[in-house]
Amino acid sequence: MNRQEEPVELINENGLRIDGRRLDEFRPIKMKVGVLDKADGSAYVEQGKNRILIAVYGPREAHPKHIALPHRAVLRCRYHMAPFSTPERKSPAPSRREQELSKVIREALEPAVLSEYYPRTTIDLFIEVLQSDGGTRCAGITGASLALADAGIPMRGLVAATAVGKIAGQIALDLSDAEDKQGEADMPVAIMPKSNVVTLIQMDGGLTHEEFERGFDIAVKTCHTIHEQQKAVLKERYLAIKEEVEGKSESTKGEEE
């Protein structure tokens, strides 16, 4: 199969993008935590056609033992794309891109995790991209910090991520796969909104200094918006647990009476 993609107009005469978004609009993100039974923490993220599942195991005993550190937990991260996640089948063996992304995603989350609380352990983070549509590392990071929180791992704050890019000569927020492929630049940014510090920034393409500054500010601002949503998702989860627990205790009370 070799589908040659037709070049399409990235921005139409009304200033709207292929999927009808404005330049400064990101694709709605659907997030859910506690989606896996066995994992200590988990999250599922949908954005555009992106479907990403994240699991956290740990803090748990380090295996093999020599990988442990005496003063902190070792954070391990695997970003992986399913063979069916892309238009053409992707080999399940980790590509160089996936290995690089595993590293930068780990480094994007390291500053958030209070790893010094769990010496000699590992905290393992698995990000599985089930379907990809541009911006998977950002959605993965956003979801991973939720999964870490869901695992009850103490953190300095959540990490939120989004990308800005350049399409048809204009700065645009959160590029989709098609926009990334035909666009002129892509710049993923992750921040810890609570302290407003940058934990990941990458870029490829071509941006002037002025375009970089403008795009970077938009990305940082958007991360704060995503952060509000992350907090709401977590709160909802804990409220559900609370209701479940209270519901149970009430019913047992009823039995006692």
Binding site: N2, Q4, I67, L69, R72, A73, V74, L75, R76, C77, R78, R96, R97, Q99, E100, S102, K103, V104, I105, R106, E107, E110, P111, S115, T122, D124, M187, I191, M192, S195, N196, V197, V198, T199, L200, I201, Q202, M203, D204, G205, G206, L207, T208, H209, F212, E213, F216, V220
Partner: protein, 272 residues
Amino acid sequence: MSSTPHLPPVATIAQKTVVDMLAVGKRVDDRGLNDFREMKLEIGPIERACGSALINLGKTKVMVGVKVEEGEPFPDTPDEGVLTVNAELVPLASPSFEPGPPNENAIELARVVDRGIRESKAIDVKQLCVQPKRKVFVVFVDVYVLDHDGNLIDASSIASLAALLSAKMNEYEVENGEVIYRPELRTLPIQNHPVAVTLAKIGRSLVVDPSLDEEQVMSARLTVVSDKDGRICAMQKGGAEALSVEEVKQGVAIALSRAPEIRSRIMEAVKT
């Protein structure tokens, strides 16, 4: 899977010296915060390569070899030559390097160098097409780290550009899809000159071109690759800690201001 690295033990006093001196605006080797170490570029030390360069950046030594071979294009770019960058952290270069397939650090190094060359369109890949869909030239850029004293990204990026600029391949003709080489030599179609500038965050300072002593105490690093027109073509943050929004902007501005001088040094070395 990427793991929190086990850092080699470094004497506390050595770490403290770097940090304490920077707190009063000084670097252990007396450089200014935005200064590169002394740079020496040797062009063409490897005769068997199409192009090669050996860079000494302070005590860091990186050799880059360029080879050009015939190969197949990627299906989505049927009329474009192919660029392949690989980096080897050769075990003789550092006690922390081990034999084996490239680890995440080697992969990251290669991919950042690759992005700079690719995204700045340094190579006019259309000119490397022999027969669309069937045959193109593949440019292999092999980064070989020989002595690791910090800032491998910049050293590799500088040496890669120098090796590409000085690379020569045989003149050729195409007959029935076959390449017939002639004895005369030609240069590669290089049309842009990307330069990486890396900054390390140590304490509250940002320093350009960190040495290994500095890398061992840095909390994060930021690499900015810019092209000959001053456009940013690649960026990469590394390290386990964060940078403030201001530090990122400041780092980009510093990197953009330092790149032209490095670029002219490369061009000068390649000319002679």
